[in-house]
Symmetry: C2
Subunit: 332 residues, 2 copies
């Protein structure tokens, strides 16, 4: 398949580039190992692929954006390590999380150290291509603002667990920061490096933002009805942690009182029985929460795809459209 | 006093600039409050002052480096928040630490969010001054590499607690990263913005690195013989946490076996009695560990001051020389 071939080539280049910025030679060894752990455990490399495709879609070359592509994956990985500490998650990509293996202090440092590498890699990209100061500033500003947005989204997520009522609007704002911001920034930086026009950069950014939100909604759904072996995280952990996911928000608004109470009882309970968990999952399916969430994700992806009408047809554009569909059909 | 006046003016400008990058308007509120907490608790603002003085010392204007000055203080504050989580320290600058007040997850996010702001502020400085792409890259590379060095130093610090024997060489390497790197980077960025020649930039960086190491040694000493009300942290907490500070390393090498055992017993014990702690502090003074450490710090400061011979005389240079002395005579 053409789309898969296209992505496979890019992923190979990105892997090599990540190795360059997070090399085996980092000392002290536990720091290097904890920084590299989640990369070697897999991952879809969605963000770097989007960045490279965005660069190509406006007429740029993949080779010109490799450091930036590595940078956004490194940034993403840093947020995963810290999120796992905050949520006390023990599994990610089917392997033990960094703090479980090296302890919380080393996990915090590993995340910080990866964050530092993001800007080192971007600096090198700017230097190598001799980009203008204007473009350099725009790239750094984009990644900094996105990083802050991610933090704000994560803070909202943490605070929502303690809240009684969370609206769909609040949820969408949180997710737009937590996941949308980096996909947006990846597309934007790719398009800037590729020399895109303002209209193109803006369309590609919006595409990233919208599929980012859809991606997170799909994540919420997979966390309830996914297959653990494919998904890499324990099914139901969002429920155990009391996370306000879209299906949960929908269900709490639409279930009859008694069933609603049943869901509320289980939210954030930590250790709940498999049986109780299955009951709640059934309730979520019954009341249409899964269907509703999937429909909203589909609408976002449709809107995202429409944005690309300003981009001329190419193999890169075709792959972006296919990726948009993947975001909401994926089981991994 | 001229020197104090000079610093006071700068600190006022820096405070305003920090407010601009970490404003009261940040939402959600607990994120904003936890980001701003340590700034409002005080602090010496050593790094921004060094940056601005370095800028002036090569002929630049203070007004041209304000965002960068705020950026290095913001970076420093981020590391303090994360360090306090790792060390489980409960007091800093005489107030409760961020994780004690807002919990560990919010403290991790607050640190990450401040780190993001560092690069946003730097981007704005580069944009406002219309610096060349070359200078922009150099500034971003400097701060990224320093941030990574800080992480490496912190990782060494965390790992050393579990080690039986730590050499003075390892200690100096750790401290050079943990504290030296950011003072070095502050001086370097100030000098780049100020338009310094390569020789000047290099001398000012080295000055920063050396007084940084001396600063940390003084910190180790104050953690043992300082006055808690001035120092802002509990005296003896390094010992309780089992930290390998220079006085401890010296003492473990020079104390007779029995007394050495007494120190080893107490290291990292957590809850030790006031009386036992005082005994260990007496041992550290007796064996010359405090004197040795203070002498090494003095030597480093002398070396640092010699570096400034390539810088032409000015009020800024005079203030830098005074700050170098302050680093090892301070009790705060």
């Amino acid at each position: 398949m053409d789309v898969l071939e296209n992505l496979k080539e890019k992923i190979e280049l990105v892997e090599r580039e990540i190795e360059r910025w997070v090399p085996r030679s980092i000392k002290p060894e536990p720091l290097g190992n904890s920084m590299r752990h989640l990369f070697s455990a897999g991952g879809k490399r969605l963000r770097p692929c989007l960045l490279l495709l965005s660069c190509e879609a406006v007429g740029g070359k993949v080779e010109d954006a490799l450091e930036a592509a590595a940078a956004v994956e490194i940034l993403h990985t840093f947020t995963l390590i810290h999120d796992d500490v905050m949520d006390r998650d023990e599994l990610r990509r089917g392997v033990k999380t960094v703090h479980v293996l090296w302890g919380i202090p080393m996990a915090i440092i590993a995340g910080d150290a990866l964050f530092a590498k993001v800007f080192e890699a971007l600096s090198e990209n700017v230097r190598r291509l001799r980009l203008s100061a204007e473009k350099a500033v725009e790239i750094f500003r984009t990644i900094s603002v996105a990083s802050f947005e991610i933090c704000r989204g994560q803070a909202m997520d943490v605070l929502m667990v303690q809240k009684d009522r969370v609206s769909e609007e609040e949820y969408l704002k949180m997710v737009s920061g937590k996941t949308g911001a980096l996909l947006d920034a990846s597309m934007k930086i790719g398009a800037i490096i590729g020399g895109g026009k303002e209209k193109e950069i803006s369309a590609l950014s919006t595409f990233g933002r919208k599929i980012g939100i859809a991606f997170q909604i799909r994540d919420d759904v997979l966390g309830i009805i996914g297959e653990e072996s494919k998904f890499g995280k324990p099914i139901g952990s969002d429920i155990r942690e009391g996370k306000r996911t879209l299906p949960i928000i929908y269900a709490l608004r639409h279930l009859p009182l008694e069933k609603k109470k049943m869901v509320e009882e289980v939210l954030g309970e930590g250790k709940i029985s498999r049986k109780k968990l299955e009951k709640v999952i059934n309730l979520l399916e019954e009341c249409g929460a899964i269907e509703y969430s999937s429909k909203l994700a589909l609408e976002l992806v449709d809107e995202a795809k429409k944005e690309l009408s300003v981009i001329r047809d190419s193999r890169a554009k075709e792959t972006l459209l296919a990726l948009a569909d993947f975001v909401i059909t994926r089981s991994i």
